[in-house]
Symmetry: C2
């Protein structure tokens, strides 16, 4: 009986291999043939699922965003607060976070001068901003963050802090180990904390 | 009498044109032929100065870092404090800052999986960190920032905040106009300010 491969499953495998290849050799050096070889497929299979390298890149970008969302869910299930879960999943603190960030940086580079990729990047940031706003409002409701903060605006600030930390950490991991990344987020949040909560 | 073109001047013109082309169409779409055409040169002239596209990219990255440093000098001459001059020159607040940032983002993308470009990026960030540390110490000496702050560490935080803001602003200028960028830096600095200085 021939092995039936689910289409969504195959696409997920392809973007998984592509993410690893981007993280390893960068976007410029990658070909569809390399992706096929790395995954043990024919180039024809890759071409069946994606029209070109750019299409595969876009799918890989989205799949890493999905992976980051799943990491948030996993941490929530383990008892983290929404804010903790988002922060821990948004930084390059472990292998998965570093992989996500290497893909995102490669994608940002490709998005310069490319309207469609810029739109995808904007959409991801708007979703990220919305989930951080909600998490900050939950912290306010729990009395851990100052009630009079504008959660929308504070989410904007926190997105910038997280992205800025992540960029440093990816390119200079020696000076930005996980402890430093967490410390700097903590210092930022401490300025938003109620006296009782601190 | 034939026109004598100074070699450093020609290199500067080439990197200037390359920066504009990267900002406009991104790194992926650029060829040495396009650069030559955009500047009114032969491809042979471009090849005379740069061995390949990657070499030209590295030179363009460095020339934008020089441009940012010159912008700092200009603002100092106009009476800005070192900290003000650095912040205003480090964000995409005007056409030049936006050009710098589009080149840097394209460069970051290319630096993923590339040791030499990653080293260049690290070197730029270390220089940037050192100049921010010095500016923060000057603010402390002037009594405008808390004296017991660790300037090295605060420089790290500020680099992250500036980079994070810049990334948002380049990809989503509508939600990150100059006033929002400046407001967020100001809110960050306010948490480091002496009560008398605020």
């Amino acid at each position: 009986m021939p092995k039936v491969v689910d289409s969504a499953q195959r696409r997920a495998e392809l973007t998984e291999v592509t993410a690893s290849e981007i993280a390893r050799v960068g976007l410029d050096g990658i070909t569809l043939r390399d992706i096929a070889r790395a995954g043990g497929w024919t180039t024809g299979i890759v071409n069946h699922y994606f029209t070109d390298k750019r299409d595969l890149l876009l799918a890989t970008f989205r799949s890493r965003a999905d992976a980051a969302r799943q990491a948030v869910e996993r941490r929530l299930a383990e008892g983290a607060t929404p804010l903790e879960a988002i922060i821990e999943s948004a930084l390059p603190l472990d292998e998965e976070g570093t992989l996500n960030w290497r893909v995102w940086l490669a994608f940002w580079g490709a998005a310069v001068g490319d309207d469609e990729l810029t739109d995808a990047q904007q959409a991801r940031h708007h979703t990220f901003h919305a989930s951080i706003s909600a998490a900050l409002r939950a912290e306010q409701a729990a009395g851990r963050l100052l009630a009079d903060l504008d959660a929308e605006h504070e989410a904007r600030r926190l997105v910038a802090v997280l992205d800025g930390i992540a960029v440093q950490a990816v390119f200079d991991p020696e000076h930005w180990p996980p402890a430093t990344q967490r410390r700097i987020v903590g210092e930022h949040l401490a300025t938003l904390t109620t006296p009782e909560g601190s």
